[in-house]
């Protein structure tokens, strides 16, 4: 087994609150993000040197201002599973990132906060520690800022910082654990995001067949997978975007993913779709006419970024179906067929922004055997399933005794 992590017993709690919708300067689920500057850089390097080769995954980067510690990691784990870090105490991180659903959610659109549905597919937490750009459109820059955004988003955690912080403070075990991990008298919600980020940095998988192969174990991939690797790096052209140790150039491309039909068929999904246009800062005109996810455009506001998404990492895919930002494909076979057709689904549908479609995406002319080999190779990027039991949640308890309250009353 690779990374089955044992869970000690702990109790936990957390919180959330609502978004102040009327105010200016709304928090959207995007917090910070890297501008488009490096976009062309990746392309330039590639032209000169060719794409970075596939490589074994190293240790995840640890930010100097949030070093790992056992106390922090353990705390982060409990918090990750605690639904009290959400508006109505029902929806925490693990609610949409279920360990036994690939640390994601096995539907096209993620489940949402109660009363809502999300509009994008839930991404796996596994290996997210490596990504300098988080979310499908790369809008968060670290696990820390990502967690904050996730807990607050109206269709995600819908939790406001102050109520979440207050909840943590009436859970004595958390008070103690935050003190141990961060040295504060009372839990501070920002430290909750830091602890969760530390926990996420332990959710990495570095012993897949591909890693073993790249580290010198030539028997780690079978003949079919080796053939698939060749296609991936050659005829299939996948390596042009899915490269390096994290199998992603962390750049943004429009590969032709068609809009999810559910927006035409599901009232709840239509509500979220329109809300997201506002939440992501669309203009009034854009709000009126948008009929698909404009992806990286929401951040860059450049017309040529419409329909572009971050190159999705390909590790741990075996457990994270469905695929793509809107979950339109349920199997890796469908994905490969999509690429083979040059970025069209089986009904010939493609992105609404054809003008932005990457020139790297074109019909591949793969045979059935070649397609099978490519799928087999994609699967070699996943190791064992990483499962984890939900830790016990610490309980609320009063901070004051009745005697203390009576004394305060007497002293009035």
């Amino acid at each position: 087994m690779s990374n089955v992590i044992q869970t000690p017993t702990l109790l936990a709690a957390a919180i959330t609150t609502a978004l102040l919708a009327g105010c200016a300067g709304q928090a959207t689920s995007e917090s910070t993000a890297a501008p488009a500057a490096e976009k062309s850089m990746a392309a330039a390097t590639m032209a000169m040197a060719g794409p970075a080769p596939l490589a074994p995954l190293g240790e995840p980067p640890i930010p100097p201002d949030n070093l790992q510690s056992p106390a922090k990691i353990e705390l982060g784990k409990i918090l990750f599973f605690d639904p009290r870090l959400g508006g109505d105490a029902s929806t925490g991180c693990s609610t949409c990132h279920e360990p036994d659903q690939g640390w994601a959610w096995a539907e096209d659109f993620s489940r949402g906060y109660p009363g809502t549905v999300h509009w994008r597919n839930s991404q796996t937490i596994i290996n997210s520690a490596y990504f300098p750009r988080q979310f499908w459109a790369g809008s968060a820059s670290s696990n820390e800022s990502q967690a904050r955004g996730a807990a607050r988003g109206g269709v995600a955690g819908n939790g406001e910082a102050d109520i979440m912080e207050a909840r943590l403070r009436v859970i004595p075990e958390y008070v103690e654990r935050f003190r141990e991990a961060f040295g504060t008298e009372w839990p501070i919600v920002r430290d909750a995001w830091r602890a969760i980020a530390s926990f996420e940095r332990t959710l990495v998988q570095r012993d897949t067949p591909l890693d073993k192969y790249l580290l010198g174990d030539k028997s780690a991939l079978d003949a079919e997978q080796l053939k698939g690797k060749e296609i991936f790096e050659g005829k299939g052209g996948c390596i042009q975007c899915h490269n390096g140790a994290i199998t992603s150039d962390q750049d943004f491309h429009n590969i032709g993913i068609p809009p999810n039909k559910r927006w035409e068929e599901d009232g709840l999904a239509q509500i979220t779709f329109r809300f997201e246009q506002y939440a992501k800062g669309q203009t009034q005109e854009g709000y009126r006419k948008a009929k698909s996810d404009w992806g990286f455009y929401y951040r860059s506001k450049n017309a040529w970024d419409k329909g572009k998404f971050r190159t999705a990492p390909l590790r741990y895919l075996k457990y994270t179906a469905p695929y793509m930002h809107n979950g339109v494909f349920y199997t890796l076979e469908e994905v490969v067929d999509f690429y083979d057709r040059g970025g069209f689904d089986e009904d010939g549908r493609t992105t609404l922004f054809k003008e932005n479609k990457s020139s790297l995406i074109k019909p591949l002319g793969l045979t059935d055997d070649e397609k099978g080999a490519l799928v087999a190779f994609l699967e070699s990027m996943s190791g064992e399933e990483m499962l984890m039991d939900k830790p016990a949640m610490p309980e609320y308890a009063p901070l004051f005794t009745k005697a203390e309250l009576e004394a305060a009353q007497e002293a009035k």
Partner: protein
């Protein structure tokens, strides 16, 4: 979270002494007369009514205005401490919203002093009240054909969060006292005796005056703390979030509701609450900002003892030495300020809400 509004009330000068002859005093205070009529736009109010009873205007679609402001309880809540948004408690009693449209200052501590649009916004967005991202609220309304029609009929055009916050206050205007004996003049002999006491010996009129029986100012009457705020962590965390947001120092160690102090940050205002209206009390028990007094009889007994215990208690409150009959009469007078319950279809939205949002047909072709 709500906007903190400085209400800047000048409190009654302390010289209004109890030593004065009450008879002479009574004339100084505006009588409890009938409330003026309000101009109401029927279509807007009807829309506001549907919204007031609709749980879908809360974050998780789990709680409506009417779940805390219940028609059968004079649009207040029968628990001492209000329920909270799911996953939260609360730390104050949910007040009646009947006649709220006639007020100039809202909330027990008087922190809102602008208009009902702002009060509605606070209710909708506050974490532990309805936790609603108003952009989602707007899109939900746009997905409900009945709302689309009603907004149009009300002259608002398409549903928007701004017009939701206008329609609800329009509905609140329809919630006013109807047929209260004090307005119709059909008061019992006991109530009439009570009224005399109210204006005279009992001194209630000093603070409870004018059409709403409130001067809109804040006083410390020494109501005991409700320990359940602190003994129930769900209530306590809502209280902590509130105190934190209001900028009250040392909020983790607070063991009392600071009340009006919240607005002035002057220690002398600790434990003051805004004089509530005395209309529609018959159905709105329990009483006081924290529901600590169970019945009107207990309220009068409380004043008869000279109020509660607090070093900053208002000097107007002194033991009243009322007899048994006086107490009964005062209670009868208080009850005479309650009218007919507003529980019929005229005030209550009784049609069911759709279980699901219908899909907008031909979605790719129509404008959002």
């Amino acid at each position: 979270m709500g906007v903190r509004v400085k209400t800047g009330h000048t409190l009654l000068a302390a010289t209004l002494g109890l030593g004065m002859a009450f008879g002479a005093q009574a004339g100084k205070y505006p009588d409890i007369t009938s409330l003026p009529d309000l101009k109401i736009n029927a279509a807007k109010a009807e829309l506001g009514k549907r919204l007031f009873f609709d749980r879908r205007i809360s974050g998780d679609a789990g709680i409506a205005c009417s779940d805390c402001h219940k028609p059968e309880n004079a649009y207040a809540h029968p628990d001492a401490l209000s329920p909270g948004y799911p996953g939260n408690g609360h730390f104050r009693n949910s007040p009646s919203v009947i006649n709220a449209a006639h007020k100039k200052v809202w909330m027990h501590d008087g922190r809102l002093g602008t208009n009902l649009n702002d009060v509605t916004r606070e209710m909708l967005t506050e974490d532990y009240i309805m936790n609603m991202d108003m952009r989602i609220m707007q899109e939900r309304a746009k997905q409900d054909p009945k709302y689309v029609q009603m907004f149009k009929d009300a002259g608002y055009g398409e549903p928007s969060n701004g017009s939701i916050r206008k329609a609800i206050p329009e509905y609140l205007k329809t919630l006013t006292s109807v047929n209260a004996p004090i307005d119709t003049g059909k008061m019992s002999a006991s109530a009439k005796r009570g009224q005399k006491l109210f204006k005279g010996k009992a001194g209630c009129i000093q603070c409870h005056n004018g059409p709403l029986a409130t001067d809109g100012k804040a006083y410390n009457t020494g109501v005991p703390e409700n320990f359940d705020i602190f003994l129930d962590p769900m209530n306590h965390h809502a209280f902590i979030a509130f105190a934190m947001f209001q900028g009250i120092e040392d909020y983790m160690n607070l063991k009392r509701d600071p009340g009006y102090y919240n607005i002035t940050m002057d220690a002398a205002d600790t434990g003051k609450f805004v004089t509530p209206s005395l209309r529609e009390l018959k159905y709105s028990a329990p009483y006081m900002h924290n529901g600590m007094v169970k019945s009107l009889y207990d309220v009068v007994a409380f004043y008869n003892r000279g109020g509660g215990k607090d070093s900053r208690k208002d000097s107007r409150l002194k033991p009243l030495k009322l007899g048994k009959q006086d107490i009964k009469d005062l209670v009868a007078f208080l009850e005479s300020m309650s009218g007919d319950p507003l529980t019929s279809g005229q005030h209550v939205w009784k049609d069911p809400y759709p279980a699901e949002y219908p899909v907008i047909e031909n979605w790719t072709q129509v404008k959002n």
